[in-house]
């Protein structure tokens, strides 16, 4: 292998690889009840209740066991209605489904730490 080729491939590697952040599959995540996401619940997600919602700022406050947090909702944030307690299918939700008092689980977006990657809202 000549040096030029190695250099060329190295440059191509730098250009072509986005080294995309490892991505969990969100399509099946929708069906996992609050608090049961493997490797996430109890480790890197926030579990608690919504205390207030700010539609203008597209954010809401929540109280966890230990503190309160403000969570941003981005256009890419996935919102799901967890109806598993009622033995009904979980549904896609929207920002309007966020209501004070609702029990929620939040996974933050690793590439945008103030925004949620997904939100599960306990629903009937």
């Amino acid at each position: 292998m000549n040096g030029k080729s190695i250099l060329g491939i190295m440059l191509a590697a730098l250009l072509c690889l986005n080294f995309a952040v490892g991505q969990a599959q969100q399509t099946t995540e929708k069906f996992i009840p609050i608090g049961m996401s493997p490797g996430v619940s109890g480790k890197s997600s926030y579990l608690g209740s919504i205390t207030s919602v700010d539609p203008a700022a597209k954010s809401f406050s929540m109280q966890t066991d230990s503190d309160s947090k403000i969570i941003g909702v981005a256009p890419t944030t996935r919102i799901w209605l967890d109806r598993s307690k009622s033995r009904k299918p979980n549904l896609d939700g929207e920002f309007g489904a966020l209501e004070a008092g609702s029990r929620v689980e939040i996974m933050m977006d690793p590439s945008a730490p103030t925004k949620a990657a997904w939100i599960k809202i306990e629903a009937d």
């Binding site: 969990a24 099946t28 049961m36 996430v40």
Partner: protein, 463 residues
């Protein structure tokens, strides 16, 4: 009289002695060799039982329904053809609740394609992809990347934290459900943390635990030339993305911890894909992410030759065809192909003899891995001489399958007839080990098979 009494006494004495001897004959072995307690199952063994038997209260499928132990923990059309119609693989044909939008039975039976909804479950009739079943061998070496774990064909197959441990949770939701409502606790139950731990341990135990180191001292002229082409970054250029014929990027090019990488190699743009030719609905597969970016992750090549059909959509049947793919327009015009041209000044352009040579190299390293793996399984059989037959039976079945695969990949390429003869002898010993009920004989046959494997290996490669 006295004599008669004495004689009677003597007879009685002898009878007592005889009785005692008989008693001891039966009892002593039991005293000398108390039955060995069954050892506590290891985490890997627990994981194996879950993998093969646990349905998670779903439609009857297990992990092993699609990842068959004697089909390299994958699934091929030829294996599917051996299954009865009541096999849980065909649940879409037998369960009316799963008749629509759960599988495509025609594509499953013809091309071993499984329906996936990796971009969402909102429009089941239109938003799906048909993908092959990737084997679960050598995952110890092929999942990690600088960007996190990569599972499944596009590297984003697991929910939760995206790890192999979490993969089973997503698989249960996608493939085990009783209805397309997918309600936890109704249509299935989710794996527990303990089950996920065991499943991960089992999957990581399968196949190769370390990378091979190229170049190997191959004895076959064509395979050795194929290895040179494979390693030549101006000719085959294969070793850049399949370092040491594995699933990871070359650290000299992509950095020391790059690991498993995603690329858009244009497989989706191949003309005349078998599944598309069938006339069924086969939406384009956008790969990594939702919506996808067209990328799929790099599979390991050591295990490739006996695990076709190839690529995420099972679009190429032979290992020669999969090497030739990199000569064609689909790859050359793809993002990965274009960048390779930009970097090296030329596309991959192998002639037929070179394509066959690279494929011969892949066939030989696959056979070497089959032999290693079969020997490892046979060693387990030998070590388990005292354990129940039901414990060794599935291990022997896998050993036989590995040896059979070695035979098939060599014969399929017209390679190493001497080695093939040795492998046939090894296969015969394994089949004798399978048919005997005597543990010691089984052990002997296993040792004989290992010896034949050694001779076969010596014909393929130097030490």
């Amino acid at each position: 009289m006295i004599g008669a009494v004495g004689k009677y006494s003597t007879v009685r004495q002898h009878s007592k002695t005889t009785f005692a001897v008989i008693l001891l004959t039966f009892l002593l072995p039991a005293c000398k060799m108390p039955p060995k307690p069954t050892p506590e199952p290891t985490l890997v063994e627990i994981g194996e039982q879950i993998f093969l038997n646990e349905t998670f209260a779903g439609n009857g499928r297990t992990c092993g329904t699609c990842h068959r132990p004697t089909d390299n923990f994958g699934l091929t059309p030829s294996f599917i053809a051996t299954l009865g119609d009541d096999d849980p693989l065909f649940v879409a044909e037998t369960n009316p609740d799963l008749a629509n939008n759960f599988e495509n039975p025609v594509l499953m039976r013809e091309f071993a394609l499984i329906l996936e909804n990796q971009d969402g479950f909102g429009d089941l009739a239109n938003n799906f992809n048909m993908r092959g079943v990737p084997h679960t061998l050598a995952m110890r070496t092929s999942i990690d990347s600088a960007a996190g774990p990569r599972t499944g064909w596009s590297g984003d197959g697991a929910p939760g934290d995206g790890s192999l441990r979490s993969f089973a949770t997503g698989a249960v939701i996608q493939h085990f459900t009783k209805t397309t409502n997918r309600i936890p606790g109704v249509d299935f139950r989710l794996p527990t943390d303990d089950e996920l731990d065991a499943l991960e341990a089992f999957q990581l135990s399968l196949g190769r635990q370390a990378e091979i180191s190229l170049p190997l001292p191959l004895k076959g002229i064509v395979a050795a030339r194929g290895q040179e082409i494979f390693l030549d970054n101006t000719l085959g250029k294969c070793n850049a993305c399949h370092f040491n014929a594995g699933a990871n990027g070359n650290p000299a090019i992509f950095g020391p911890n790059a690991g498993n990488l995603n690329f858009n190699t244009g497989v989706e743009n191949l003309p005349d894909q078998p599944a598309v030719l069938s006339g069924g609905k086969v939406p384009p597969d956008d790969g990594f992410g939702t919506p996808g970016n067209g990328e799929f992750n790099t599979p390991t090549l050591v295990e490739a030759a006996d695990t076709g059909p190839f690529f995420h959509n099972n679009s190429v049947e032979t290992i020669e065809g999969s090497v030739a793919f990199y000569n064609g327009d689909a790859f050359t015009n793809s993002p990965a192909g274009q960048l390779l041209i930009g970097a090296t000044g030329s596309a991959i352009n192998l002639d037929a003899t070179q394509v066959v040579a690279v494929a011969a190299f892949l066939r030989v390293i696959n056979a070497l891995e089959n032999i290693r793996s079969s020997n490892e399984l046979l060693e387990r059989v030998i070590a388990a001489e005292d354990r129940a037959e039901r414990f060794v039976t599935p291990i022997l079945a896998r050993a036989r399958s590995e040896t059979r695969d070695a035979l098939d990949v060599l014969r399929g390429g017209g390679l190493h007839p001497q080695s093939v003869a040795r492998l046939m002898a090894a296969l015969d010993f394994i089949e004798q080990a399978q048919s005997t009920t005597k543990a010691k004989r089984r052990t002997g046959y296993a040792r004989d098979a290992i010896a034949e494997h050694g001779r076969a290996r010596n014909d393929l490669s130097g030490p």
